[in-house]
Symmetry: C2
Subunit: 200 residues, 2 copies
């Protein structure tokens, strides 16, 4: 992977981790917290690869000076990842929230959810543009984990596949609906009309 793409990947991973980590805390979401842990492992692996490649590539003091910047960038990415992991750990171990925290979680109708697309799900083999999930369910896909790769900020052309892990943000109602759609328990036609009208 070129350095440019490496840097862009690090940026995307860092941004997603920060979003997911705070969302995990705000919504007390173990799902989001677990995805942060997965991402942190990937950042560590990436950092390790960068160190190896830089050591092999350095042929002179001049080379070394220039590659040092890359190592420093990777270190910063790892620090961010560790901090995000600290937030995720709070949620996974189950922190005892001050009463004010509880109010935060209970008063909001917002939520973050993680679903896996089953083979039988109508979501599989359709693009986000075709599915119009935001319009129909109020849920927005913020990232997709496919095997060990991530798709950041998916758009209307992004096609969903069976076994994709989706992270979505929206409302409680929408989250429950998405879980059913993803598992194949219900289809797009089943979406209650009241919900669709509410979203309009």
């Amino acid at each position: 992977m070129s350095i440019k793409n490496l840097l862009i990947e690090m940026k995307n991973m860092s941004e997603l981790m920060v979003d997911l980590a705070y969302s995990a805390v705000l919504f007390n979401s173990k799902d989001a917290a677990e995805e942060v842990i997965t991402l942190e492992n990937e950042v560590n692996s990436m950092n390790y690869e960068i160190k190896k490649e830089s050591l092999v590539a350095a042929r002179s003091y001049e080379d070394a000076e220039k590659l040092t910047a890359l190592l420093e960038i990777a270190e910063a990415a790892e620090s961010m990842a560790n901090a995000a992991k600290d937030l995720a750990d709070l949620v996974i171990t189950g922190f005892k929230p001050h009463p004010v925290f509880k109010m935060v979680m209970e008063e909001s109708d917002k939520s973050i959810v993680r679903v896996t697309i089953d083979e039988s799900s109508e979501l599989a083999n359709n693009t986000l543009g075709d599915l119009l999930l935001v319009n129909r369910t109020g849920m927005r896909v913020i990232a997709i984990r496919r095997g060990v790769s991530w798709i950041y900020g998916p758009d209307k052309n992004t096609m969903l596949l069976a076994n994709d892990v989706l992270i979505l943000k929206g409302t409680y109602e929408g989250a429950e609906l998405l879980e059913k759609l993803a598992s194949g328990a219900c289809s797009l036609e089943d979406i209650p009309e009241e919900l669709e009208e509410e979203l309009e």
Copy 2:
């Protein structure tokens, strides 16, 4: 400020810092790097306030246990901010980029820019919805600094004021145009037709 709003502010600041810090590196932008430094100071101030408030609020061991989580969250935010600052410092001190870095910056027509709205600028006292900067210049406002406050992810209803500091992402051409629009050196009517057509 309630804990909920405090957490949301920390989340917004962390996300913006990570975006700006990586963008500063990718585009070798001292402007973006300087804004990261400003934000890092604010995170430090916020962390200090949280520590003070938590110490005053704790009346029992039970209280203390619950407020500990808040202190840990603030510590994580500060770690993220420090890592972002490390990236910004690379750009400000001027790192000697490996030839591959140079290619990244030169081949891309993308850029990040910071402008201050002059009293004489047409941008002042208009909403982003009215100005349609994305359509007309290809530049998107990602954040606005107004005095010591930040507006994150502004939308079409956000009104711009004189002395606002805007951070925008887009193309080189668009960035130059925005600097002229912000300083009052040119007006919206002056935008070259070729640029508008290109953006359509």
